[in-house]
């Protein structure tokens, strides 16, 4: 099938002049950045700043109005990329298939592409569910799970693919602090184990500064700053400062 990669390890991502408008409203207003193979690149930004739309472009679910996206130097969704690399995305909502059990969801990629025998798939599914702390939930239906559990199943489903590029949309947004730590560890583990390139969209500052090799802060479809966690922390731009240091005062 199209899905046996010949290149182990992560891929580079290059984004140039990426623009997208919906109904005249500009959501991505010219983005340029590079992500190195095997890097964990965190994208932060306020709600509605276009982070999800950016990830959808990176995996080819949306067509840009202008600009280009290169995966390992080739256009995203070109036949070469599709046949040589595996990509996975963890959706903000989980996007589990509601008609399938948790186990079937997690094993879907392997089963549909006939990459493994049913017994092997069952073993891998059990293993990945254990990684995200959901051991023994194979037979449950997604509709019976909490938001955070769905998110973790979605992460397990992405782990199964063993991708060269993995996109996480708010992986910890519905999780308690303890599960968040587990997910953060797994993001780093996965990178160390298979050198995957990871793009993580998150508001979670602890997660961002905990796992990132580099961080980009975007606002209104533009990049405010890109750099290592230390560089971003020291960035004097008032918008960046505000975003990074906003906190509740007792009201």
């Amino acid at each position: 099938m199209t899905s046996t990669p010949s290149h182990p390890g992560g891929v580079s991502v290059r984004v140039r002049g990426l623009r997208k408008a919906f109904a005249g409203q500009e959501v991505l207003a010219g983005l340029d950045f590079d992500v190195q193979p095997g890097e964990i690149f965190v994208i932060m930004g306020p709600s509605g700043s276009g982070k999800t739309v950016l990830l959808k472009h990176l995996i080819g679910l949306e067509e840009p109005d202008a600009g280009e996206i290169l995966i390992a130097g080739k256009p995203v969704r070109s036949p070469e990329v599709m046949s040589q690399y595996r990509m996975a995305m963890v959706f903000q909502s989980g996007a589990l298939l509601n008609s399938l059990t948790v186990g079937e969801n997690v094993g879907l990629y392997l089963a549909e592409h006939r990459l493994k025998s049913p017994e092997e798939i069952a073993r891998i599914v059990t293993e990945k569910l254990e990684v995200v702390g959901l051991k023994g939930t194979e037979e449950r239906m997604p509709s019976d799970l909490s938001g955070g559990m769905k998110k973790r199943v979605a992460i397990a489903r992405a782990l199964v693919i063993e991708p060269q590029l993995i996109l996480y949309d708010e992986p910890t947004s519905e999780l308690d602090p303890l599960s968040s730590v587990v997910i953060a560890e797994e993001i780093v583990n996965l990178k160390q184990r298979i050198q995957v390139t990871s793009l993580v969209v998150s508001h979670d500052r602890d997660l961002a500064f905990g796992v990132a090799d580099r961080i980009a802060v975007i606002n209104k479809g533009r990049i405010l700053t890109i750099g290592t966690p230390d560089e971003v922390r020291r960035n004097p731009d008032p918008l960046v400062e505000q975003f990074l240091h906003a906190s509740f005062k007792r009201l």
Binding site: T2, G60, L61, F91, S93, A95, L97, L108, Y109, H113
Partner: protein, 245 residues
């Protein structure tokens, strides 16, 4: 309503190109097939029985009065197998199964399940459309064959029971056999096969272009059913014209 005809033709064509993958999707085809059967077999029986009955009731006394009693079986048998069973059953299935297809695929669209499939390199056409199209294309002709037989039976029983008609069972079926030949039945069943393709294509297409939350799903379901029925009736005329020769 017809602005999407081009898209539907493309969807239908892509699904035909995917046909070689049917064997791999056989589990889903058989699931869909039995779902269609379970959901509609009883309805098909009841509906076709009464359609047969009412046609006998309408035409029987009229013909008998004029001394044409020996034609009743032919008229009832002919109209059921060539028109009423294929068209009415297809409309029933459009309402019963087409709506379910549009709702299911539409909600998968709205809740990003289809996006998720695409990120996994799983084609929605192979995974969703193909099994539904194949299943309904097998199931509907079978249901219609069944409906024709039950409809004839309904017509015959009414002819026996009604005092104004009073034709025996044997006389009804011998008249039917004189008028209706196997090709007429095949004709009707073939039409239902074409209608099955219409229902699946229209409903899956509506599902796939759903947008805008739960209300969007509702809109898609309504459109799938209405557009299927309009196209069924329209193509019924064309097919009849072509098959008439």
């Amino acid at each position: 309503m017809f602005q999407n005809v081009g898209e539907m033709v493309i969807l239908f064509w892509s699904t035909l190109l995917a046909l070689p993958a049917t064997w791999r999707q056989r589990q889903k085809v058989s699931d869909q097939f039995f779902e269609i059967g379970n959901a509609s077999l009883l309805m098909v029986c009841i509906l076709s029985f009464f359609i047969g009955g009412v046609i006998a009731l309408q035409t029987g006394p009229l013909l008998v009065e004029r001394g044409l009693g020996s034609y009743v079986g032919g008229v009832v048998g002919f109209s059921i197998c060539k028109e009423l069973a294929p068209v009415m059953m297809s409309i029933l299935i459009a309402g019963r199964i087409g709506s379910a297809m549009a709702a299911e695929i539409g909600s998968m669209r709205v809740y990003q399940e289809i996006d998720a499939l695409r990120t996994m390199n799983i084609s929605p056409i192979h995974y969703l459309v193909l099994p539904r199209l194949v299943a309904i294309a097998l199931a509907l002709p079978l249901l219609v064959t069944f409906a024709i037989l039950v409809g004839w039976l309904g017509g015959a029983l009414v002819c026996v029971a009604n005092d104004h008609i009073a034709i025996s069972f044997a006389a009804f079926f011998s008249a039917l056999r004189d008028t209706v030949n196997v090709q007429d039945v095949a004709n009707g069943v073939f039409k239902s096969f074409a209608f099955a393709l219409i229902i699946a294509t229209v409903s899956c297409h509506q599902g796939l272009i759903t947008r805008g939350g739960p209300r969007g799903i509702g809109r898609s379901v309504t459109k799938a059913v209405v557009n299927s029925i309009v196209l069924i009736v329209f193509s019924d005329y064309l097919l009849t014209r072509i098959l008439l020769k």
